[in-house]
Amino acid sequence: MTLVPELEARSLSRWLWRQLTSMRTALILLLLFGLAAIPGSIFPQRSQNPLAVSDYFKSNPGTAKFLDELNMFDVYSSPWFSSIYILLFISLIGCVLPRTIEHLKSVGAKPPLTPKNLDRMEFFFELETGTLDRAESWLKKRHFRIRRDVDSISAEKGFMRESGNLAFHLSLILILIGVGAGSLFGMKGDAIINVGDRFINIPTSYDVISFGKLESEKNMNPFSITATDFKATYELTTGVPSDYKLTVNIADPVGSKEVAKVVRVNSPLTFGSTKVYLQANGYAPIVTVRDKTGEVKYQGAVIFLPQDGNLTSIGAIKVPDAEPQLGFIGSFVPTFARNSQRGAFSTYPEVLDPRLLISVWTGNLGLDTGRPQSVYRLDTTAMTRLSLKTLELHETFDFNEGSITFEGWTPWVNLQIVKDPGKIYALLGSIFAILGLLMSLFTRSRRIWVKTSADKSGVEIAGLAKNSVPGLESEIAALINEMRS
């Protein structure tokens, strides 16, 4: 008696499997996959624009919380999105693998037996003349696969249609493997470096870095990149960028002989499966900060973030060594202009007439509170403002607690470093997918039967085109001509 539930469970799971791998389910899953991708194009995504997500939280806190419950800000890594594509691929594998095995078995096999009643076919003709031998040689010349029986021929052409179809679907699985391998064994990070600085590929050199689940910092290539020059070219009239060119010296591994290279937006550096991309650039004003006694408390380039196309940039200069601590909220304007509406702003992205606008703060920078702080923003909760000043190049501003000198500027570049060992499989999968698709969509698959007529005086000819593709009619007409000649 205990056998019954077990049997039921087995037949239930078999039923489920059959349902999952049915064409209808696959189609529904495919459409669902498309639909499920839509919300990610409507709501901002953490993976692409975390700032927009936090803005959304600020402006609509209630809805944002609800949407977050539904993973609307991480659609493409959400459980429901993942489950749709995992089910789709299981369904695909369940559908394609048995068909592949069937198809491989049928390589070299003869076409199926000639059906009894040819007159039910789409094309059917009875001829007074013609012999099976002539039909066979005609069909052979046209590369049909032929089964010759005593009183009939069954011929088939278009085997590659199914081959292409299967190649296409198997390639999709290969792409999925590539994507999966990339996310498991990959690495991705960003580093901002000033021109003149050297970047060494270790985790502490990065501003942001993340590893795949099966990847660790031990596998990082130990290369180094020294940014020697950066040249941005702009359209004179519009200020639209037309070229970014970063010149670097690379050493792989670090310490070996340096080689000069050029990095552009569309031509990254390559170190094995790791690539280094030029993603953004901006200006870092160079300043010297002295305290009341004239002692230098800070000197160097401070990275400012661009706010518009003309590279008006903002940032913060923090001087924890001064007593009391000093902080500056700054705005770097490469080509200076001022009007009553916008205040100071830049009219061109190149440095033609630079200014450094600062507000001077004193008090506690809050660096030792343990709360994480942005290097581009000043936490002014425990500080008081002393004064405002617009500095020209090489100008020094004396305020009561000390002085600041605008010494110059250096460009900085944002390097994106990506390791993706899976992408080669995704690429191969894509190439095979297109080839398979072309093969399957442009191969006509059809069958032709020739049978000795009942009174043995002539032959019956019938044909069947899969998916009713055109062309069979004229082919059969040609065969009939041959039989009559």
């Binding site: 495919l30 498309g34 037309s242």
Partner: protein, 296 residues
């Protein structure tokens, strides 16, 4: 000649093409409107009456195609690059692809009846392009400076042109299908192909262009890998390109494997085409993400 000269010539060529498309539109309108005259027994119709007007329409259409082609080429010469840097240029090239697809299909499948809707669609596209989308000819931003621009964008634009043509035919199918269910076609539609032929033609266009669209998406991924550091990032444009791909894949499966024909297939085709249009219009103009090159 200087770049500016070429830019002006390009604009004149586009204006001329629009005039020719308008003439083609009127010729085809006359052809359709006056083609039918009841013969004596009131059961037969004479379609030969306005054949000449239709011929003039075809000639105008081909001439317009030539001018449009010149306009697109000169735009490219004036900017020293392929003419696919902003939405104005996408639109004029898209109109070129669409008209070429029509002229090719005209030669292959005898679909002159499509001349009227094609002329309307092209005029609307070009009209929007020169009034709202027009931007002076200018060089490309660094991210677009790549051989892949020519490959990826041309494949996408040609696919778009054929998608829209397939949509026109599917829409015609649905319209005629309604008439036939209500008791018969109106007189002006008697000359149009059978429902089955329209259905077949839609399928053939999609089957032809689906591999090209697949290629456009993959070429885009390869380019994104070298420009943006990842081959796929679910950028809004990528997401919608993928949705379009899925929708057409569903259409092909529905036809080939499940055996959908006729009305259901036509609706699915129109849905798939709409995802492409949505991507082109909405994501380019109002969307966010990295594909916002409309210049608006």
């Amino acid at each position: 000649m200087t770049s500016t000269n070429f830019a002006y010539l390009s604009n004149y060529a586009i204006y001329s093409a629009m005039v020719l498309f308008t003439l083609a539109f009127f010729s085809h309108a006359v052809e359709v409107a006056f083609s039918v005259r009841n013969l004596e027994d009131k059961t037969e119709f004479d379609f030969t009456r306005t054949k000449r007007s239709g011929d003039i329409g075809t000639v105008m259409m081909v001439l317009a195609l030539v001018f449009l082609f010149v306009g697109v080429i000169f735009r490219g010469i004036s900017a020293h690059r392929v003419p696919w840097g902003n939405m104005y240029e996408f639109s004029i090239t898209g109109a070129l692809a669409f008209t070429s697809a029509y002229v090719y299909a005209l030669w292959r499948y005898k679909i002159r009846w499509l001349g009227l809707p094609v002329a309307i669609a092209v005029l609307l596209t070009l009209g929007t392009a020169i009034t709202i989308l027009y931007r002076p000819s200018a060089p490309l931003v660094p991210a677009l400076k790549s051989t892949w621009l020519a490959i990826h964008v041309s494949a996408a634009i040609i696919s778009g042109g054929v998608f829209l043509l397939a949509n026109c035919i599917a829409a015609t199918y649905l319209l005629l299908d309604r008439y036939e269910n209500k008791g018969g076609r109106p007189v002006w539609a008697l000359k149009l192909p059978t429902l089955e032929a329209l259905d077949q033609l839609t399928y053939r266009l999609v089957a032809f262009v689906f591999p090209l669209w697949t290629f456009a998406v993959i070429a885009g991924a390869i380019w994104a890998e070298s420009a943006w550091g990842r081959y796929w990032g679910w950028d809004p444009k990528e997401t919608w390109a993928f949705i379009t791909w899925v929708a057409y894949a569903a259409y092909l499966h529905a036809r080939v494997t499940v055996g959908w024909r006729g009305r259901k297939a036509a609706w699915l085709c129109i849905f798939a085409g709409s995802t492409f249009l949505f991507n082109y219009v909405y994501i380019n103009v109002w969307g966010t993400g990295r594909h916002t090159y409309s210049g608006l």
